[in-house]
Symmetry: C2
Subunit: 301 residues, 2 copies
Protein backbone atom coordinates (compact mmCIF):
# COMPACT_ATOMS: atom_id res chain seq x y z
CA UNK A 1 0.00 0.00 0.00
CA UNK A 2 1.35 3.36 -1.04
CA UNK A 3 2.10 5.61 1.90
CA UNK A 4 2.41 9.34 2.27
CA UNK A 5 5.91 8.83 3.50
CA UNK A 6 6.86 7.25 0.21
CA UNK A 7 5.38 10.16 -1.65
CA UNK A 8 7.24 12.68 0.47
CA UNK A 9 10.43 10.74 -0.06
CA UNK A 10 9.75 10.63 -3.77
CA UNK A 11 9.14 14.36 -4.00
CA UNK A 12 12.34 15.07 -2.15
CA UNK A 13 14.41 12.84 -4.40
CA UNK A 14 12.75 14.30 -7.45
CA UNK A 15 13.51 17.80 -6.29
CA UNK A 16 17.12 17.16 -5.36
CA UNK A 17 17.91 14.69 -8.11
CA UNK A 18 19.86 12.52 -5.72
CA UNK A 19 19.09 9.79 -3.24
CA UNK A 20 22.05 10.78 -1.11
CA UNK A 21 21.07 14.43 -0.85
CA UNK A 22 17.43 13.63 -0.31
CA UNK A 23 18.32 11.18 2.43
CA UNK A 24 20.33 13.89 4.16
CA UNK A 25 17.48 16.38 3.78
CA UNK A 26 14.97 13.89 5.16
CA UNK A 27 17.24 12.80 8.00
CA UNK A 28 17.11 9.15 7.04
CA UNK A 29 19.81 6.79 5.85
CA UNK A 30 20.23 6.47 2.13
CA UNK A 31 19.39 2.74 1.98
CA UNK A 32 16.07 3.34 3.70
CA UNK A 33 15.26 5.90 1.07
CA UNK A 34 16.35 3.60 -1.74
CA UNK A 35 14.10 0.89 -0.45
CA UNK A 36 11.03 3.09 -0.04
CA UNK A 37 11.42 4.40 -3.58
CA UNK A 38 11.91 0.87 -4.85
CA UNK A 39 8.75 -0.20 -3.04
CA UNK A 40 6.83 2.72 -4.47
CA UNK A 41 8.00 1.91 -7.97
CA UNK A 42 7.03 -1.69 -7.50
CA UNK A 43 3.62 -0.69 -6.27
CA UNK A 44 3.06 1.70 -9.13
CA UNK A 45 4.38 -0.71 -11.68
CA UNK A 46 6.71 1.72 -13.42
CA UNK A 47 10.07 3.31 -12.79
CA UNK A 48 10.07 6.81 -11.39
CA UNK A 49 13.77 7.56 -11.82
CA UNK A 50 16.52 6.85 -14.28
CA UNK A 51 19.51 5.89 -12.21
CA UNK A 52 22.59 7.59 -13.57
CA UNK A 53 26.20 7.85 -12.58
CA UNK A 54 25.85 11.17 -10.81
CA UNK A 55 22.41 11.05 -9.28
CA UNK A 56 19.02 10.24 -10.69
CA UNK A 57 16.60 11.84 -13.11
CA UNK A 58 12.83 11.55 -13.35
CA UNK A 59 11.47 9.34 -16.09
CA UNK A 60 8.64 10.85 -18.13
CA UNK A 61 6.26 8.71 -16.12
CA UNK A 62 7.90 9.86 -12.90
CA UNK A 63 7.60 13.44 -14.00
CA UNK A 64 3.92 13.07 -14.76
CA UNK A 65 3.35 11.31 -11.48
CA UNK A 66 5.14 14.07 -9.63
CA UNK A 67 3.05 16.78 -11.28
CA UNK A 68 -0.12 15.15 -10.05
CA UNK A 69 1.07 14.12 -6.64
CA UNK A 70 2.80 17.29 -5.61
CA UNK A 71 -0.49 18.88 -4.55
CA UNK A 72 -1.47 16.10 -2.17
CA UNK A 73 0.72 17.24 0.65
CA UNK A 74 -0.72 20.72 0.51
CA UNK A 75 -4.25 19.40 0.39
CA UNK A 76 -3.74 17.43 3.55
CA UNK A 77 -2.34 20.42 5.37
CA UNK A 78 -5.23 22.54 4.18
CA UNK A 79 -7.68 19.92 5.38
CA UNK A 80 -6.02 19.82 8.77
CA UNK A 81 -6.14 23.61 9.01
CA UNK A 82 -9.76 23.68 8.00
CA UNK A 83 -10.61 21.10 10.62
CA UNK A 84 -8.66 22.97 13.29
CA UNK A 85 -10.52 26.18 12.47
CA UNK A 86 -13.86 24.42 12.69
CA UNK A 87 -12.88 22.69 15.90
CA UNK A 88 -11.71 25.89 17.55
CA UNK A 89 -14.81 27.76 16.51
CA UNK A 90 -12.81 30.14 14.38
CA UNK A 91 -15.07 29.32 11.47
CA UNK A 92 -18.10 27.18 10.86
CA UNK A 93 -21.86 27.31 10.91
CA UNK A 94 -23.97 27.84 13.99
CA UNK A 95 -27.33 26.21 13.48
CA UNK A 96 -29.61 28.27 15.69
CA UNK A 97 -33.24 27.34 16.24
CA UNK A 98 -35.72 29.51 18.06
CA UNK A 99 -39.36 29.62 19.03
CA UNK A 100 -41.89 31.76 17.23
CA UNK A 101 -42.37 33.81 20.35
CA UNK A 102 -38.68 34.69 20.40
CA UNK A 103 -38.44 36.30 17.00
CA UNK A 104 -35.11 36.55 15.24
CA UNK A 105 -35.12 40.32 15.48
CA UNK A 106 -35.07 40.07 19.25
CA UNK A 107 -31.85 38.07 18.90
CA UNK A 108 -30.30 40.50 16.46
CA UNK A 109 -28.09 42.17 19.01
CA UNK A 110 -26.58 38.87 20.12
CA UNK A 111 -26.26 37.68 16.53
CA UNK A 112 -24.43 40.84 15.52
CA UNK A 113 -22.00 40.56 18.40
CA UNK A 114 -21.45 36.90 17.57
CA UNK A 115 -20.70 37.64 13.93
CA UNK A 116 -18.29 40.37 14.91
CA UNK A 117 -16.44 38.08 17.29
CA UNK A 118 -16.38 35.23 14.76
CA UNK A 119 -15.88 36.87 11.37
CA UNK A 120 -15.50 33.52 9.60
CA UNK A 121 -18.61 31.99 11.07
CA UNK A 122 -22.08 31.79 9.61
CA UNK A 123 -25.47 31.41 11.27
CA UNK A 124 -28.31 29.28 9.98
CA UNK A 125 -31.55 30.43 11.59
CA UNK A 126 -34.62 28.27 11.81
CA UNK A 127 -37.85 28.84 13.63
CA UNK A 128 -39.22 25.67 15.20
CA UNK A 129 -41.24 24.78 18.28
CA UNK A 130 -39.60 24.59 21.68
CA UNK A 131 -40.28 20.88 21.88
CA UNK A 132 -38.65 20.17 18.53
CA UNK A 133 -35.64 22.17 19.58
CA UNK A 134 -34.88 19.57 22.22
CA UNK A 135 -34.98 16.81 19.65
CA UNK A 136 -32.86 18.65 17.12
CA UNK A 137 -30.24 19.78 19.59
CA UNK A 138 -30.06 16.33 21.16
CA UNK A 139 -29.80 14.76 17.71
CA UNK A 140 -27.06 17.11 16.63
CA UNK A 141 -29.21 18.68 13.92
CA UNK A 142 -29.01 22.06 15.65
CA UNK A 143 -26.27 23.59 17.75
CA UNK A 144 -28.35 25.78 20.05
CA UNK A 145 -31.99 26.45 20.66
CA UNK A 146 -33.76 29.44 22.14
CA UNK A 147 -36.94 28.10 23.64
CA UNK A 148 -39.92 29.49 25.44
CA UNK A 149 -40.46 27.76 28.76
CA UNK A 150 -41.97 25.54 29.89
CA UNK A 151 -40.49 22.79 27.74
CA UNK A 152 -42.02 19.43 28.49
CA UNK A 153 -39.76 17.19 26.51
CA UNK A 154 -36.54 16.38 28.29
CA UNK A 155 -33.44 14.65 27.00
CA UNK A 156 -30.35 13.70 28.93
CA UNK A 157 -28.25 14.96 26.04
CA UNK A 158 -29.38 18.57 26.41
CA UNK A 159 -29.30 21.11 29.17
CA UNK A 160 -31.22 24.33 29.61
CA UNK A 161 -29.76 27.68 30.49
CA UNK A 162 -32.49 30.02 31.57
CA UNK A 163 -32.60 33.55 30.20
CA UNK A 164 -34.11 36.66 31.67
CA UNK A 165 -37.82 36.67 32.42
CA UNK A 166 -39.87 39.23 30.58
CA UNK A 167 -43.28 40.57 31.45
CA UNK A 168 -46.34 39.36 29.61
CA UNK A 169 -48.50 41.94 27.90
CA UNK A 170 -52.02 41.82 26.59
CA UNK A 171 -52.21 42.58 22.91
CA UNK A 172 -55.40 44.33 21.85
CA UNK A 173 -56.77 45.78 18.69
CA UNK A 174 -56.39 49.54 18.90
CA UNK A 175 -60.19 49.73 18.64
CA UNK A 176 -60.77 47.41 21.57
CA UNK A 177 -62.70 48.89 24.53
CA UNK A 178 -60.09 47.71 27.02
CA UNK A 179 -57.45 49.97 25.47
CA UNK A 180 -58.84 52.66 27.72
CA UNK A 181 -57.37 50.80 30.66
CA UNK A 182 -53.74 51.51 31.54
CA UNK A 183 -53.18 47.99 32.83
CA UNK A 184 -55.09 44.73 33.08
CA UNK A 185 -55.23 41.62 35.19
CA UNK A 186 -55.46 38.11 33.89
CA UNK A 187 -58.80 37.57 35.56
CA UNK A 188 -60.31 40.26 33.39
CA UNK A 189 -59.53 38.18 30.32
CA UNK A 190 -61.79 35.35 31.42
CA UNK A 191 -64.45 35.86 28.79
CA UNK A 192 -62.35 37.33 26.02
CA UNK A 193 -61.45 35.26 22.95
CA UNK A 194 -57.78 34.32 22.58
CA UNK A 195 -56.40 34.01 19.08
CA UNK A 196 -53.65 31.73 20.44
CA UNK A 197 -52.76 29.81 23.58
CA UNK A 198 -54.18 26.38 23.47
CA UNK A 199 -52.89 22.86 23.74
CA UNK A 200 -52.23 21.75 27.23
CA UNK A 201 -50.01 18.88 26.10
CA UNK A 202 -47.58 21.22 24.41
CA UNK A 203 -45.15 23.59 26.02
CA UNK A 204 -44.01 27.06 25.09
CA UNK A 205 -45.96 30.28 25.30
CA UNK A 206 -49.34 28.66 24.73
CA UNK A 207 -48.80 26.35 27.65
CA UNK A 208 -47.62 29.16 29.86
CA UNK A 209 -50.64 31.35 29.22
CA UNK A 210 -53.02 28.45 29.61
CA UNK A 211 -51.49 27.55 32.95
CA UNK A 212 -51.71 31.12 34.21
CA UNK A 213 -55.37 31.24 33.34
CA UNK A 214 -56.02 27.87 34.92
CA UNK A 215 -54.42 29.12 38.06
CA UNK A 216 -57.11 31.78 38.09
CA UNK A 217 -59.83 29.27 37.61
CA UNK A 218 -60.69 29.50 33.94
CA UNK A 219 -59.72 28.00 30.64
CA UNK A 220 -58.87 30.62 28.08
CA UNK A 221 -61.58 30.88 25.54
CA UNK A 222 -60.51 30.38 21.98
CA UNK A 223 -61.41 32.83 19.27
CA UNK A 224 -63.11 31.54 16.15
CA UNK A 225 -59.88 32.05 14.20
CA UNK A 226 -56.73 30.84 15.88
CA UNK A 227 -53.05 30.87 14.93
CA UNK A 228 -49.88 29.71 16.54
CA UNK A 229 -47.56 31.66 14.27
CA UNK A 230 -46.32 35.21 14.62
CA UNK A 231 -49.14 36.36 12.38
CA UNK A 232 -51.50 35.86 15.30
CA UNK A 233 -50.80 39.50 16.08
CA UNK A 234 -52.36 40.35 12.73
CA UNK A 235 -55.50 38.56 13.87
CA UNK A 236 -55.51 40.61 17.04
CA UNK A 237 -55.08 43.81 15.04
CA UNK A 238 -58.03 42.73 12.90
CA UNK A 239 -60.16 42.58 16.03
CA UNK A 240 -60.65 38.80 15.99
CA UNK A 241 -59.48 38.35 19.55
CA UNK A 242 -56.80 39.15 22.08
CA UNK A 243 -53.43 37.59 22.87
CA UNK A 244 -51.05 37.47 25.78
CA UNK A 245 -47.50 37.83 24.53
CA UNK A 246 -44.06 38.50 25.92
CA UNK A 247 -42.73 42.01 25.76
CA UNK A 248 -40.29 41.14 22.99
CA UNK A 249 -43.05 40.35 20.59
CA UNK A 250 -44.58 43.77 21.10
CA UNK A 251 -41.42 45.21 19.63
CA UNK A 252 -41.92 43.69 16.22
CA UNK A 253 -45.54 44.38 15.34
CA UNK A 254 -47.30 47.63 16.15
CA UNK A 255 -49.73 48.68 13.43
CA UNK A 256 -53.25 48.61 14.75
CA UNK A 257 -52.14 47.07 18.04
CA UNK A 258 -52.07 48.30 21.60
CA UNK A 259 -50.25 46.55 24.44
CA UNK A 260 -51.21 46.73 28.05
CA UNK A 261 -49.19 45.39 30.99
CA UNK A 262 -50.56 42.73 33.30
CA UNK A 263 -50.57 43.55 36.98
CA UNK A 264 -50.26 39.87 37.95
CA UNK A 265 -46.86 39.20 39.50
CA UNK A 266 -46.58 35.78 37.90
CA UNK A 267 -47.32 37.02 34.42
CA UNK A 268 -43.76 36.56 33.37
CA UNK A 269 -42.56 34.73 30.29
CA UNK A 270 -39.56 32.50 30.80
CA UNK A 271 -37.15 31.37 28.14
CA UNK A 272 -34.01 29.29 28.00
CA UNK A 273 -31.21 28.25 25.72
CA UNK A 274 -31.21 24.60 24.73
CA UNK A 275 -27.64 23.33 24.57
CA UNK A 276 -26.16 19.92 23.98
CA UNK A 277 -24.08 18.60 26.85
CA UNK A 278 -20.97 19.01 24.70
CA UNK A 279 -21.71 22.18 22.85
CA UNK A 280 -19.66 23.19 19.85
CA UNK A 281 -17.29 26.13 20.34
CA UNK A 282 -19.57 28.33 18.28
CA UNK A 283 -22.56 27.36 20.38
CA UNK A 284 -20.59 28.05 23.52
CA UNK A 285 -19.62 31.44 22.25
CA UNK A 286 -23.18 32.32 21.36
CA UNK A 287 -24.38 31.07 24.73
CA UNK A 288 -21.81 33.28 26.44
CA UNK A 289 -23.06 36.30 24.56
CA UNK A 290 -26.65 35.52 25.45
CA UNK A 291 -25.61 35.04 29.07
CA UNK A 292 -23.96 38.45 29.18
CA UNK A 293 -27.09 40.02 27.81
CA UNK A 294 -29.28 38.24 30.29
CA UNK A 295 -27.98 39.85 33.48
CA UNK A 296 -28.63 43.51 32.66
CA UNK A 297 -32.10 42.58 31.48
CA UNK A 298 -32.75 40.68 34.67
CA UNK A 299 -31.63 43.52 36.83
CA UNK A 300 -33.65 45.94 34.78
CA UNK A 301 -36.82 43.87 34.68
Amino acid sequence: MISLKQIRYFLSVAELGSFTQAAAALFVAQPALSRQIALLEKELGFRLFEREARGVRLTPAGSGYRDRVVAVDGMLSAAADEGAQLASGESGVLRLVHSSSIPAVSLLSAIRQFLVESPNARIDLDRISSETQVTEVAGGKADIGIARLPVLRRDSAVRFVELADEPLLVALSSKHPLTRRASLSLGELRDLPFVSAVHRERGGLARLVTDLCLRRGFVPKLARVVSRKTSMLDLVAAGLGIAVVPQRMSEIAGDGLVYRPLVDADAQARSAMVLPLRASPLARRFADIMGQKKDPATRAG
Copy 2:
Protein backbone atom coordinates in the same frame (compact mmCIF):
# COMPACT_ATOMS: atom_id res chain seq x y z
CA MET B 1 2.99 11.38 10.95
CA ILE B 2 -0.41 11.14 9.31
CA SER B 3 -0.65 8.18 6.98
CA LEU B 4 -2.88 7.39 4.07
CA LYS B 5 -4.05 4.35 5.90
CA GLN B 6 -5.41 6.51 8.68
CA ILE B 7 -7.22 8.65 6.17
CA ARG B 8 -8.74 5.65 4.44
CA TYR B 9 -9.82 4.31 7.81
CA PHE B 10 -11.28 7.67 8.68
CA LEU B 11 -13.25 7.93 5.46
CA SER B 12 -14.65 4.47 5.94
CA VAL B 13 -15.76 5.18 9.50
CA ALA B 14 -17.23 8.50 8.41
CA GLU B 15 -19.17 6.84 5.65
CA LEU B 16 -20.52 3.96 7.70
CA GLY B 17 -20.97 5.87 10.94
CA SER B 18 -19.62 2.97 12.93
CA PHE B 19 -16.23 1.66 13.95
CA THR B 20 -17.49 -1.88 14.01
CA GLN B 21 -18.93 -1.79 10.51
CA ALA B 22 -15.94 0.04 9.11
CA ALA B 23 -13.60 -2.47 10.69
CA ALA B 24 -15.51 -5.26 8.99
CA ALA B 25 -15.45 -3.44 5.67
CA LEU B 26 -11.72 -2.83 5.97
CA PHE B 27 -10.97 -6.38 7.11
CA VAL B 28 -9.24 -5.25 10.28
CA ALA B 29 -10.12 -5.75 13.90
CA GLN B 30 -12.15 -3.02 15.53
CA PRO B 31 -9.50 -2.11 18.14
CA ALA B 32 -6.93 -1.51 15.43
CA LEU B 33 -9.34 0.88 13.77
CA SER B 34 -10.12 2.62 17.05
CA ARG B 35 -6.46 3.15 17.71
CA GLN B 36 -5.64 4.51 14.26
CA ILE B 37 -8.49 7.00 14.47
CA ALA B 38 -7.37 7.99 17.93
CA LEU B 39 -3.86 8.55 16.63
CA LEU B 40 -5.17 10.61 13.75
CA GLU B 41 -7.23 12.74 16.09
CA LYS B 42 -4.25 13.23 18.33
CA GLU B 43 -2.11 14.24 15.38
CA LEU B 44 -4.72 16.66 14.07
CA GLY B 45 -5.43 18.08 17.48
CA PHE B 46 -9.20 17.87 17.27
CA ARG B 47 -11.86 15.19 17.53
CA LEU B 48 -13.22 13.82 14.29
CA PHE B 49 -16.13 11.87 15.71
CA GLU B 50 -18.66 12.21 18.45
CA ARG B 51 -18.84 8.82 20.11
CA GLU B 52 -22.44 7.92 20.75
CA ALA B 53 -24.29 4.92 22.03
CA ARG B 54 -25.14 3.49 18.65
CA GLY B 55 -22.15 4.37 16.53
CA VAL B 56 -20.34 7.60 15.89
CA ARG B 57 -21.10 10.85 14.14
CA LEU B 58 -18.75 13.35 12.50
CA THR B 59 -18.03 16.49 14.44
CA PRO B 60 -18.27 19.71 12.42
CA ALA B 61 -14.49 19.71 12.29
CA GLY B 62 -14.48 16.10 11.20
CA SER B 63 -17.00 16.86 8.52
CA GLY B 64 -14.93 19.72 7.16
CA TYR B 65 -11.82 17.59 7.27
CA ARG B 66 -13.57 14.84 5.39
CA ASP B 67 -14.77 17.20 2.66
CA ARG B 68 -11.22 18.25 1.97
CA VAL B 69 -9.55 14.91 2.35
CA VAL B 70 -11.98 12.81 0.39
CA ALA B 71 -10.36 13.83 -2.89
CA VAL B 72 -6.88 12.73 -1.93
CA ASP B 73 -7.41 9.08 -2.60
CA GLY B 74 -8.73 9.81 -6.05
CA MET B 75 -5.86 12.13 -6.80
CA LEU B 76 -3.34 9.47 -5.96
CA SER B 77 -5.08 6.94 -8.16
CA ALA B 78 -5.23 9.45 -10.98
CA ALA B 79 -1.54 10.16 -10.57
CA ALA B 80 -0.73 6.47 -10.68
CA ASP B 81 -2.84 6.04 -13.80
CA GLU B 82 -1.20 9.01 -15.45
CA GLY B 83 2.22 7.61 -14.67
CA ALA B 84 1.27 4.18 -15.95
CA GLN B 85 0.03 5.66 -19.20
CA LEU B 86 3.23 7.62 -19.63
CA ALA B 87 5.33 4.60 -18.77
CA SER B 88 3.53 2.33 -21.18
CA GLY B 89 3.75 4.84 -23.98
CA GLU B 90 0.00 5.14 -24.14
CA SER B 91 0.37 8.87 -23.78
CA GLY B 92 3.19 11.34 -23.49
CA VAL B 93 5.40 13.54 -25.60
CA LEU B 94 7.95 12.27 -28.09
CA ARG B 95 10.73 14.82 -28.41
CA LEU B 96 11.99 14.21 -31.91
CA VAL B 97 15.04 16.01 -33.28
CA HIS B 98 16.14 15.82 -36.88
CA SER B 99 18.80 17.19 -39.20
CA SER B 100 18.09 19.96 -41.67
CA SER B 101 18.72 17.57 -44.52
CA ILE B 102 15.99 15.27 -43.26
CA PRO B 103 13.12 17.72 -43.34
CA ALA B 104 10.06 17.12 -41.26
CA VAL B 105 7.91 16.61 -44.35
CA SER B 106 9.97 13.58 -45.28
CA LEU B 107 9.05 12.13 -41.86
CA LEU B 108 5.37 12.93 -42.21
CA SER B 109 4.34 9.45 -43.16
CA ALA B 110 6.00 7.96 -40.09
CA ILE B 111 4.68 10.74 -37.87
CA ARG B 112 1.15 10.19 -39.11
CA GLN B 113 1.32 6.48 -38.47
CA PHE B 114 2.77 7.14 -35.02
CA LEU B 115 -0.01 9.53 -34.11
CA VAL B 116 -2.62 7.09 -35.28
CA GLU B 117 -1.12 4.29 -33.23
CA SER B 118 -0.74 6.51 -30.16
CA PRO B 119 -3.78 8.78 -30.13
CA ASN B 120 -2.89 10.26 -26.75
CA ALA B 121 0.69 11.06 -27.64
CA ARG B 122 2.14 14.32 -28.86
CA ILE B 123 5.28 15.02 -30.86
CA ASP B 124 7.63 17.90 -30.29
CA LEU B 125 9.74 18.43 -33.40
CA ASP B 126 13.01 20.26 -33.38
CA ARG B 127 15.58 20.71 -36.14
CA ILE B 128 19.12 20.51 -34.81
CA SER B 129 22.45 19.32 -36.13
CA SER B 130 23.32 15.64 -36.15
CA GLU B 131 26.10 16.22 -33.65
CA THR B 132 23.84 17.99 -31.20
CA GLN B 133 21.33 15.20 -31.52
CA VAL B 134 23.82 12.85 -29.88
CA THR B 135 24.23 15.20 -26.95
CA GLU B 136 20.54 15.80 -26.49
CA VAL B 137 19.54 12.17 -26.78
CA ALA B 138 22.33 11.12 -24.44
CA GLY B 139 21.38 13.86 -22.00
CA GLY B 140 17.72 12.91 -22.05
CA LYS B 141 16.65 16.21 -23.60
CA ALA B 142 15.39 14.42 -26.70
CA ASP B 143 13.87 10.98 -27.10
CA ILE B 144 14.97 10.19 -30.62
CA GLY B 145 17.11 11.80 -33.29
CA ILE B 146 17.09 11.40 -37.06
CA ALA B 147 20.63 12.23 -38.13
CA ARG B 148 22.50 12.45 -41.35
CA LEU B 149 25.59 10.25 -41.28
CA PRO B 150 28.42 10.45 -40.66
CA VAL B 151 28.08 11.50 -37.06
CA LEU B 152 31.44 12.09 -35.46
CA ARG B 153 30.42 12.52 -31.85
CA ARG B 154 29.88 9.26 -30.09
CA ASP B 155 28.41 8.59 -26.68
CA SER B 156 28.11 5.30 -24.90
CA ALA B 157 24.59 6.26 -23.87
CA VAL B 158 23.27 6.32 -27.45
CA ARG B 159 23.09 3.84 -30.27
CA PHE B 160 22.52 4.35 -33.97
CA VAL B 161 20.05 2.50 -36.10
CA GLU B 162 20.86 3.07 -39.74
CA LEU B 163 18.07 3.93 -42.16
CA ALA B 164 17.86 3.41 -45.89
CA ASP B 165 20.50 5.02 -48.08
CA GLU B 166 19.26 7.50 -50.58
CA PRO B 167 20.96 8.77 -53.74
CA LEU B 168 22.59 12.17 -53.80
CA LEU B 169 21.45 14.62 -56.45
CA VAL B 170 22.95 17.79 -57.78
CA ALA B 171 20.67 20.75 -57.32
CA LEU B 172 20.99 23.38 -60.06
CA SER B 173 19.27 26.59 -60.92
CA SER B 174 16.90 25.87 -63.77
CA LYS B 175 18.92 28.36 -65.83
CA HIS B 176 22.21 26.60 -65.19
CA PRO B 177 24.01 25.28 -68.31
CA LEU B 178 24.46 21.81 -66.78
CA THR B 179 20.71 21.26 -66.72
CA ARG B 180 21.12 20.12 -70.29
CA ARG B 181 22.89 17.03 -69.00
CA ALA B 182 20.69 14.10 -67.89
CA SER B 183 23.18 13.03 -65.22
CA LEU B 184 26.41 14.26 -63.73
CA SER B 185 29.48 12.92 -61.98
CA LEU B 186 31.05 14.39 -58.87
CA GLY B 187 34.28 15.11 -60.73
CA GLU B 188 32.42 17.53 -62.96
CA LEU B 189 31.59 19.69 -59.95
CA ARG B 190 35.28 20.43 -59.25
CA ASP B 191 35.19 24.07 -60.21
CA LEU B 192 31.57 24.86 -59.42
CA PRO B 193 30.66 26.97 -56.37
CA PHE B 194 28.83 25.10 -53.56
CA VAL B 195 26.32 27.05 -51.50
CA SER B 196 26.79 24.53 -48.71
CA ALA B 197 29.01 21.64 -47.73
CA VAL B 198 31.90 22.89 -45.72
CA HIS B 199 33.37 22.18 -42.32
CA ARG B 200 35.49 19.14 -42.22
CA GLU B 201 35.33 18.87 -38.46
CA ARG B 202 31.58 18.55 -38.48
CA GLY B 203 29.49 15.60 -39.55
CA GLY B 204 26.28 15.35 -41.46
CA LEU B 205 25.57 16.11 -45.05
CA ALA B 206 28.29 18.76 -45.35
CA ARG B 207 30.88 16.34 -44.11
CA LEU B 208 29.62 13.61 -46.45
CA VAL B 209 29.81 15.77 -49.56
CA THR B 210 33.20 17.13 -48.63
CA ASP B 211 34.54 13.64 -48.13
CA LEU B 212 33.20 12.46 -51.47
CA CYS B 213 34.88 15.37 -53.22
CA LEU B 214 38.13 14.80 -51.38
CA ARG B 215 38.05 11.21 -52.50
CA ARG B 216 38.10 12.58 -56.04
CA GLY B 217 40.99 14.84 -55.35
CA PHE B 218 39.45 18.24 -54.80
CA VAL B 219 38.06 20.41 -52.08
CA PRO B 220 34.58 21.71 -52.91
CA LYS B 221 34.74 25.35 -53.76
CA LEU B 222 32.53 27.58 -51.68
CA ALA B 223 30.18 30.05 -53.27
CA ARG B 224 30.36 33.67 -52.16
CA VAL B 225 27.07 33.18 -50.28
CA VAL B 226 26.80 30.07 -48.18
CA SER B 227 24.08 28.57 -46.00
CA ARG B 228 23.69 25.51 -43.90
CA LYS B 229 19.97 25.77 -43.54
CA THR B 230 17.29 24.41 -45.81
CA SER B 231 17.08 27.77 -47.51
CA MET B 232 20.33 26.94 -49.25
CA LEU B 233 18.12 25.56 -52.01
CA ASP B 234 16.79 29.10 -52.44
CA LEU B 235 20.32 30.24 -53.00
CA VAL B 236 20.75 27.57 -55.66
CA ALA B 237 17.52 28.61 -57.33
CA ALA B 238 18.81 32.18 -57.36
CA GLY B 239 21.82 31.01 -59.28
CA LEU B 240 24.38 31.68 -56.58
CA GLY B 241 25.82 28.18 -56.73
CA ILE B 242 25.07 24.48 -56.75
CA ALA B 243 24.42 21.95 -53.98
CA VAL B 244 24.58 18.21 -53.54
CA VAL B 245 21.56 17.03 -51.61
CA PRO B 246 19.82 13.79 -50.75
CA GLN B 247 16.82 12.83 -52.82
CA ARG B 248 14.43 13.66 -50.01
CA MET B 249 15.33 17.28 -50.09
CA SER B 250 14.45 17.49 -53.75
CA GLU B 251 10.91 16.63 -52.79
CA ILE B 252 10.37 19.74 -50.75
CA ALA B 253 11.69 22.56 -52.93
CA GLY B 254 11.14 22.73 -56.65
CA ASP B 255 10.57 26.27 -57.91
CA GLY B 256 13.43 27.33 -60.13
CA LEU B 257 15.38 24.20 -59.32
CA VAL B 258 16.46 21.23 -61.37
CA TYR B 259 17.91 18.04 -59.93
CA ARG B 260 20.31 15.74 -61.72
CA PRO B 261 21.41 12.31 -60.51
CA LEU B 262 25.05 11.52 -59.84
CA VAL B 263 26.49 8.54 -61.65
CA ASP B 264 29.01 7.90 -58.85
CA ALA B 265 28.18 4.67 -57.03
CA ASP B 266 29.26 6.04 -53.68
CA ALA B 267 27.13 9.15 -53.95
CA GLN B 268 24.71 7.86 -51.39
CA ALA B 269 23.48 9.75 -48.36
CA ARG B 270 23.23 7.69 -45.20
CA SER B 271 21.09 8.46 -42.21
CA ALA B 272 20.38 6.88 -38.85
CA MET B 273 18.14 7.13 -35.85
CA VAL B 274 19.83 8.24 -32.66
CA LEU B 275 18.37 6.35 -29.73
CA PRO B 276 19.22 6.24 -26.05
CA LEU B 277 20.22 2.83 -24.79
CA ARG B 278 16.99 2.67 -22.83
CA ALA B 279 14.58 4.33 -25.15
CA SER B 280 11.18 5.40 -23.95
CA PRO B 281 8.21 3.36 -25.17
CA LEU B 282 7.20 6.18 -27.48
CA ALA B 283 10.69 6.36 -28.94
CA ARG B 284 10.68 2.63 -29.41
CA ARG B 285 7.38 2.77 -31.17
CA PHE B 286 8.54 5.52 -33.47
CA ALA B 287 11.76 3.65 -34.16
CA ASP B 288 9.75 0.56 -35.06
CA ILE B 289 7.73 2.55 -37.54
CA MET B 290 10.84 4.03 -39.09
CA GLY B 291 12.35 0.56 -39.27
CA GLN B 292 9.35 -0.79 -41.13
CA LYS B 293 9.60 2.03 -43.61
CA LYS B 294 13.28 1.52 -44.12
CA ASP B 295 13.17 -1.90 -45.75
CA PRO B 296 10.85 -1.18 -48.69
CA ALA B 297 12.87 1.91 -49.44
CA THR B 298 16.10 -0.06 -49.32
CA ARG B 299 14.78 -2.68 -51.65
CA ALA B 300 13.42 -0.04 -53.95
CA GLY B 301 16.55 2.06 -54.10
